[in-house]
């Protein structure tokens, strides 16, 4: 209530992409539409557009990630940006330099856009509040909070297959509690007006008061899958597969694993999604991950277009805002 949202500018344009909680349906749709325009770039003989030529994108990864970093790198490359990969997992912050000091140095190197992955929830908001006006922050995943580009690419994939969001029943199964992907997906699905988001998992893997996110809780996967249009699996982290949260991989698979037999309860044209990497035989059967309903690899592909859309949109909007401000200043003179 008291802190201004750094994500949106006073004119309502997107200044950073930090989470999907406060983006309205118009904004989400605008990003998805823009992403449509970039899907063609991948099919051209020269897979590049010059939208970010002369701009520098810095990948700041405070947490290990190959897939997300590579996807952002590829998206930036296709927008003709220069890329700076900064591995911060083993870098200065580990040596006791504060996060802010690290940011100041990278700012001084005159980058234009930071893609940030960090283990603390809220890290992207923190960084967006503390960088100079010229820098764009795109959240590449912060703690358990948000992974907005993953959420957007999931929405993009759903729209490609279903053509709409209304009247859809979406099931999200597995470790909701610790998942930033689940939070982003749920926020976007609710905003885009699907008819029902069902979350399924053992109560140890659901966050407190999860219903407040706008979802319906199911304890049994079989019941949740009835008439589902979209089924989203989530990765169960290795360290949570034994101990007090979930007793074992095999028990999790027995109770909440996505297999062919269970999927038969969903609609015939239901699609199966997963942010990857999958634990086959834990949250998803190999036959489902590789089966005809699976769109898991498509998600990866669309991820490039969606990230191109996000980066070019924010940089473009900012340039337009700056240009109109200049015009106003000149006409005033």
């Amino acid at each position: 209530m008291s802190l201004p949202d750094p994500q949106l500018g006073p004119d309502g344009t997107l200044r950073h992409l930090l989470d999907l909680d406060r983006l309205d349906a118009t904004m989400l749709t605008r990003i998805l539409d823009a992403a449509e325009g970039f899907t063609g770039v991948n099919d051209r003989s020269i897979r590049k557009v010059p939208l970010l030529r002369g701009k520098t994108v810095a990948n700041l990864f405070f947490e290990n990630s190959t897939r997300t970093r590579t996807a952002f790198e590829l998206a930036a490359t296709r927008l003709s940006a220069d890329i700076l990969n900064v591995d911060l997992v083993t870098s200065s912050t580990a040596k006791g330099e504060s996060l802010l000091d690290t940011l100041r140095v990278l700012e001084a190197l005159q980058c234009d856009l930071f893609v940030v992955r960090h283990g603390d929830s809220g890290a992207a908001h923190f960084i967006a509040r503390h960088v100079g006006d010229a820098i764009v922050v795109v959240n590449g995943g912060d703690g358990r909070h948000s992974h907005p580009t993953q959420g957007l690419l999931d929405m993009f994939t759903i729209r490609r297959h279903k053509g709409r969001f209304d009247r859809l029943v979406v099931v999200v199964v597995g470790d909701i509690r610790h998942s930033r992907v689940a939070r982003s997906d749920i926020a976007a699905l609710v905003t885009l007006g699907v008819s029902e988001v069902r979350v399924v998992g053992p109560r140890t893997l659901l966050p407190a008061e999860v219903e407040a996110l706008g979802v319906v809780v199911f304890d049994e996967l079989d019941r949740a899958l009835v008439d589902a249009d979209v089924v989203m699996g989530l990765r169960l982290q290795k360290e949570r597969m034994s101990g007090a949260t979930v007793p074992s991989e095999s028990e999790f698979y027995r109770t909440y694993g996505l297999n062919e037999e269970r999927l038969a309860r969903a609609k015939p044209d239901a699609i199966v999604m997963h942010p990857g990497p999958t634990n086959r035989g834990v949250e998803i059967a190999a036959s489902v991950a590789d089966g005809p309903r699976s769109v898991i690899l498509e998600q990866v592909t669309w991820g490039i277009a969606v990230r191109m859309a996000v980066m070019s949109m924010i940089i473009g909007d900012r340039a337009a805002t700056a240009a109109s401000a200049r015009e106003r200043a000149e006409s005033a003179r």
């Binding site: 008291s2 802010l100 960090h118 703690g143 909070h145 966050p207 407190a208 008061e209 407040a212």
Partner: protein, 459 residues
């Protein structure tokens, strides 16, 4: 500054006007401070008090109290004064002066200094540093266990003999129930009260916010209500056990946060256990809603919980289940908040803005001003066993002259005194700038006397 001071035409009471503001109330009085005591309180114009023919005016320093309210100085049951400790976060000289600006003339100092308060040398250090530029009186709380590590008892009798008023674990849990019972029995032998903040060692140990809807949406690791109530139920059962074993432990439940916690304390009191409780003042103002957008100014070791919990804490203060309101003062330097929410050091600086917060409570809690004031004067003094003459919460002749003169209408915040500005209230003029409630944040302490000595004066 000792000697005689005559405070003229000052109000002794306060009330709330229709706009929710606290105003001076009642006929003006003259208050004579002499030889460390409140020598005389009498209606202004009464010859007995300061009239020309008594001769008081000739040798007494006079303060014009018009528009001000004279109140007994407040007693804080939990403040962090940061010394001994790392440089930058605060010093005794600075924080005890900030405490005076908040209205506190005595502060029970949390034991989690560095090193912790567990030996006579540390107490001596605290005494010496506090004497450099004396502010509020410092009443140290002893570490209950050595290094606060929950394993071995600190030398409690020695620490008590050397000035400690209670013993506690600060924000550190005490996991071993055997050690806890033993500590209670040992402390009971010397009638040393335990100041305990109930927090389970494991439940929500990694948490940084109330485990509710807001933390769930923000993906912040949560601290469930049960982290408080499980620990509280254990404490209360052990108090009961200590009673059975012959001498009951005096337990003060420090910094409650939940509705269920208030209910447990109420049950224990009804059952006749020797239990008292307090709440940090911020917890009467804020709830989890304020964390939205990862606002690290609301990062607190005792988390801000739901609006329902806040309502129950207010009920507890009204009904007296919660005896006292403490500051839970936790100054930090600026760097402590320059990190993502979970990595920020917890705690809010309270002293510099304590009075405006306190004066907002009568309206927010719909409580008479005098009753609110009792929660920071008579009630905490009683918890500390100071309920002798001069500590009964009312300005009375013969009492020790530890009193404050408050301007209830001061809108401009006086110069900041504490080392930490880690509070959302620094520039707030009305609570509505921070939460969905309206309450003016006004008022300032103009003068504070401690033991007859005028240690603070911003007129």
């Amino acid at each position: 500054m000792s000697g005689r001071t005559l405070i003229r035409r000052v109000a002794l009471g306060a009330c709330r006007d229709t706009g929710g503001r606290v105003r001076a109330d009642g006929d003006p009085h003259d208050v004579l401070v002499a030889d460390g005591r409140i020598a005389r309180v009498s209606p202004s114009g009464d010859d007995r008090a300061g009239g020309a023919d008594t001769g008081d005016r000739d040798d007494a320093h006079a303060i014009d109290g018009t528009g001000l309210i004279a109140l007994p100085g407040f007693t804080d049951l939990y403040g962090r004064l940061r010394e001994p400790g790392p440089a930058g976060r605060g010093t005794l000289a600075r924080e005890t002066r900030a405490a005076l600006a908040g209205g506190f003339v005595r502060v029970a100092c949390a034991p989690d200094t560095h090193p912790v308060i567990e030996d006579v040398a540390t107490l001596e250090l605290i005494r010496r540093r506090a004497a450099v530029r004396p502010g509020a009186e410092v009443l140290p709380i002893a570490a209950l266990t050595r290094g606060l590590d929950g394993r071995e008892l600190a030398p409690l009798a020695t620490l008590q003999a050397d000035g400690c008023v209670a013993a506690g674990q600060a924000d550190r849990p005490l996991e071993d129930t055997g050690v806890l019972l033993s500590a209670m029995q040992y402390a009971a032998s010397f009638e040393l009260p335990l100041f305990m903040t109930p927090r389970d060692a494991r439940l929500g140990a990694e948490g940084c916010a109330h485990d509710g809807a807001i933390a769930s949406r923000l993906g912040l690791p949560g601290i469930p209500v049960a982290a408080e109530t499980v620990a509280l139920a254990r404490l209360l059962e052990l108090v009961r056990e200590s009673v059975v074993r012959g001498r009951g432990c005096r337990l003060h439940v420090s910094r409650l946060s939940s509705a269920r916690g208030v209910a447990l304390v109420a049950e224990a009191k009804e059952a006749g256990l020797s239990v008292t409780a307090d709440v940090g003042i911020h917890h009467l103002l804020f709830s989890e809603a304020e964390l939205d957008g990862f606002d690290a100014r609301y990062r607190s070791a005792v988390p801000f919980r739901s609006a329902g919990d806040r309502a129950a804490l207010r009920d507890g203060v009204r009904s007296g289940v919660i005896d006292a309101i403490c500051s839970d003062h936790a100054p930090h330097d600026g760097d402590a908040r320059l990190a993502p929410f979970p990595a920020c050091a917890p705690g809010l600086a309270a002293y510099d803005r304590f009075l405006p917060m306190l004066l907002a409570l009568p309206a927010l809690l719909d409580m008479p001003v005098a009753d609110v004031l009792r929660r920071v004067t008579a009630a905490p003094a009683r918890v500390l066993g100071l309920a002798t003459a001069g500590h009964d919460g009312r300005l009375a002749e013969g009492a020790t002259a530890s009193l404050i003169l408050v301007d209830p209408d001061a809108a401009e915040a006086p110069p900041w005194l504490g080392a930490g500005r880690n509070t959302p209230l620094e520039n707030a003029r009305d609570l509505s700038e921070l939460t969905d409630e309206r309450a003016p944040l006004r008022g300032a302490v103009r003068v504070a006397f401690v033991g007859g000595e005028r240690r603070f004066d911003t007129r």
